[in-house]
């Protein structure tokens, strides 16, 4: 029952999110570039998008703190990470270069796919390739780490045998 409700909410949320993006100007790459062009003909519109969005979400966070749990789910998300590490800074730096280069971030690019603009249809598959590349990289690192611990365990097991 709650699963069905959550699914309906997710679809509606995506729909309203897209309308907001379209209305805000985020789906026009030249407005993104105009916002990032601090030294040139600066267009501050996107600061207002952030202000509007953050304003509503501050209220939502305040409400969430006063609710025992979400309406249709068991718990609110818990912060998994706290540390500011190299991965965060490097990732954000890479993200920014792509954002400035294409004038798209993930939400507006997907929304623009709905109407099928050429730019979005090129950008979005490449974006998913980027998601996949990091996933592969993480999986390989995990595998390598497991291999190493596996080796260490094997050595530890081998040592007493070798000593006896």
């Amino acid at each position: 029952m709650n699963v069905a409700r959550r699914n309906v909410v997710a679809a509606l949320s995506g729909f309203v999110f897209a309308i907001g993006l379209g209305l805000s100007g985020m789906t026009q790459p030249n407005k993104v570039v105009g916002f990032l062009d601090f030294g040139g003909d600066w267009d501050p519109s996107l600061a207002l998008v952030m202000a509007g969005g953050i304003g509503v979400l501050l209220l939502a966070q305040w409400a969430a703190r006063r609710m025992a749990r979400p309406l249709f789910a068991d718990s609110f998300p818990v912060l998994k990470r706290n540390e500011i590490d190299r991965r965060l800074v490097a990732g954000a730096a890479i993200f920014g270069v792509g954002w400035g280069l294409g004038g798209f971030c993930p939400g507006p690019a997907l929304t623009s796919c709905g109407i099928g603009t050429r730019a979005a249809l090129v950008f979005v598959p490449a974006m998913f390739a980027g998601f996949g590349a990091v996933r592969l990289w993480d999986a390989r690192k995990r595998l390598a780490a497991e291999d190493e611990t596996g080796l260490v365990e094997a050595r530890q097991r081998a040592q007493p045998v070798a000593g006896s």
């Binding site: 409700r5 105009g34 990032l36 998300p77 890479i94 792509g98 998601f131």
Partner: protein, 143 residues
Amino acid sequence: MSHFTPLPSLLGGIAIGAAAAVLLLSNGRVAGISGICAGMLGGEEGDSAWRWLFVGGLLVGGLAFGMVRPAAFQPGIVRSAGALALAGFLVGSGARLANGCTSGHGLCGLSRLSPRSFVAVGTFMATGALTVLVVSRFFGGAV
């Protein structure tokens, strides 16, 4: 090049915030687009349907809004397919490395006053501005 549009941008931001707020208060989920997309294939069992539905909602919303106001989807900048593909790859990989994008860090994270998100937003705004500067100074605004 682009004009200041205070009212539509503020209203659009409020709509985006409302969509994210509903997802949080009803489903206990963070509306981070890159995170939602990355979990569409695989990941935890029984955790992918809502992601597909959210992205489906985004696509249908884009289609609906584009039919009413096609001008909202005008690129307004000149970018080759190669530049767009490179940009897409950088956005996708960067967002996963940083565990969030403009929505996850920029809206949800900042409103939760997360230090990680402040660092992420400051960093991607800085490198984004630098990229725009390089493109306009050295490439005449078209790549």
